[in-house]
Amino acid sequence: MIILAAQMTLVLVAQQETSILSAITGPVIVMGSIGLLLGLGLAFAAKKFAVPKDPRVEAILEVLPSANCGGCGYPGCAAFAIAVVEGNTAVTGCTAASSAVNSEIAKIMGTVAEEKEKMVATILCNGGKSAVNAFNYNGPSGCVSISMVMGGQKACTYGCLGSGDCIDACPFDAMVTGDNGVPVIDAKKCVACGKCIEACPRDIIVLWPSSRKVVVACSSKDKGGIARKACSVACIGCRKCAKVCPVDAVEIDGFLAKINPDKCINCGLCASECPTGAIIDGIPVRPKAFIDTTCIGCTLCTRVCPTDAIEGSLKEKHTVIADKCIGCGQCVEKCPKKSIKMMGGVLSQQ
């Protein structure tokens, strides 16, 4: 049909005799008509063969990070967008999306996104150079290869091997090798996609709530003595942290302390108490509590303070001993008159 129509137009042109003009108009008309007919044909086909598509898929795809990291469990962002529209997954299913993106997706879907705590991949080992080598390893690089030779070159069979499989696996460049040989994670870049967790042959990377800054950076289940010999910053299961914790957030599993992030209040007492330094306190400068003049002297705060940093007798205004205050904020919660405020402090190391 295309050919016939083009031929007809050409016959009309040919009748107007040859000149330089027709030498140009001929090809122009041929190409023009071919283009026009193909274009019209495609436009017609696009209408005729249109497959009804949900416009929300496109809209969601537009706001997604498009890193195709697979953290959601679907092969790529497009598959995730389709799954969201079909209701197969939650609107907050994208691990790489910020809460703003999540609420945008929710808006497209006509629902409300539940606020989700931002998670950050965290390595539960700080061994690195502090961990003793059992033998010299000269084989191919890569944590998986190393771990297959007699359980790795480190005397500790639980800790980080330091060859950076997780760094290679990270699609967001959020990991770099730290000064002591253990990878460091940039909390701002990490989107908790879980690729590093899959890559780590030691299984020592976990997703940790970003608001919880105190971490037991050790995974050794060995008895205290053995763990200590293998690594100077190992958890030896001494239970000091569990005793000092004001909110019972530390549980001892065998010879390894574990912090329950749901209970932890970031007070950092356990970190200061730990004899080996296995607990890392991510808050360099803590805020201090201040009590203003509305204090009625109920003494509730003195009872709840884990370090006895608040002094003052009944019915008189209390004061905080700044040196003792660890900024845990327990008194703020307890105060019935809302007289206590936290001042100063730097919440993270960045």
Partner: protein
């Protein structure tokens, strides 16, 4: 029109080519397109998908199937337009640009039709289908069919064989590259550099077919 098309397919070219259809010539075209003048390894057409889609055997087969499909359609469309529209009006010089728009719109059309009537095949071919628009092997087949003065029947046979040759090269490459993934190769050669070396070696190997046609 259908009658005359049938005549071309079975008998001869309208511009006075060989009058009859010979099995010997057909076999020669097939062997030539698959082995001797393999579009990828001897003519160096379609190198982009050859290196881009040869990481996994599955996708290589999918891409190959899509290319065969589109090659046949493109040959059909371009041959008919060339011999019925361009040749009668002495506009052979418009061949390249005409073929490009024909192939581009054909691929679009095929994509739409597949999506509508065979979503399974559409999903299987996936991204390969639109990628084929820019595959120069398709244009190469269409142009070389004209250069070799093939009849429509021979052209179609040539395009199928060329597609099979392309698939063969792609599948062989994918098979080798899948094995190379686990092989212990020097750090600097990992990935694409090694693929280029393999492609070169394969091309040399295919040079060995050169004597086959006699």
């Amino acid at each position: 029109m259908i009658n005359s098309m049938l005549m071309w397919v079975i008998v001869a070219a309208p511009d006075g080519g060989e009058p009859s259809f010979s099995i010997a010539k057909m076999m020669a075209i097939i062997v030539s397109a698959i082995f001797i003048n393999n579009y990828v390894l001897s003519r160096f057409l379609g190198i982009c998908p050859f290196l881009g889609v040869s990481k996994q055997l599955d996708s290589a087969v999918g891409m190959g199937a899509a290319v065969v499909f589109v090659m046949v359609l493109a040959t059909l469309g371009s041959w008919l337009v060339y011999h019925n529209l361009l040749v009668p009006h002495g506009m052979e010089y418009l061949r390249t640009i005409t073929f490009i728009i024909i192939i581009a719109s054909l691929v679009q059309l095929v994509e739409m039709i597949l999506q509508k009537f065979s979503p399974a095949l559409y999903d299987a071919l996936g991204i390969f289908l639109p990628l084929i628009t820019t595959n120069c092997a398709i244009l190469g087949v269409a142009v070389l069919n004209i250069d070799d003065k093939f009849t429509l029947g021979y052209s179609l046979i040539n395009s199928v064989a060329a597609g099979i040759g392309f698939t063969l090269a792609l599948v062989l490459m994918a098979g080798i590259r899948e094995r190379m993934e686990t092989a212990d190769v020097p750090e600097a050669l990992k990935g694409l550099p090694l693929a280029f070396l393999i492609a070169g070696a394969m091309s040399i190997a295919f040079l060995g077919f050169a004597g086959l046609g006699g």
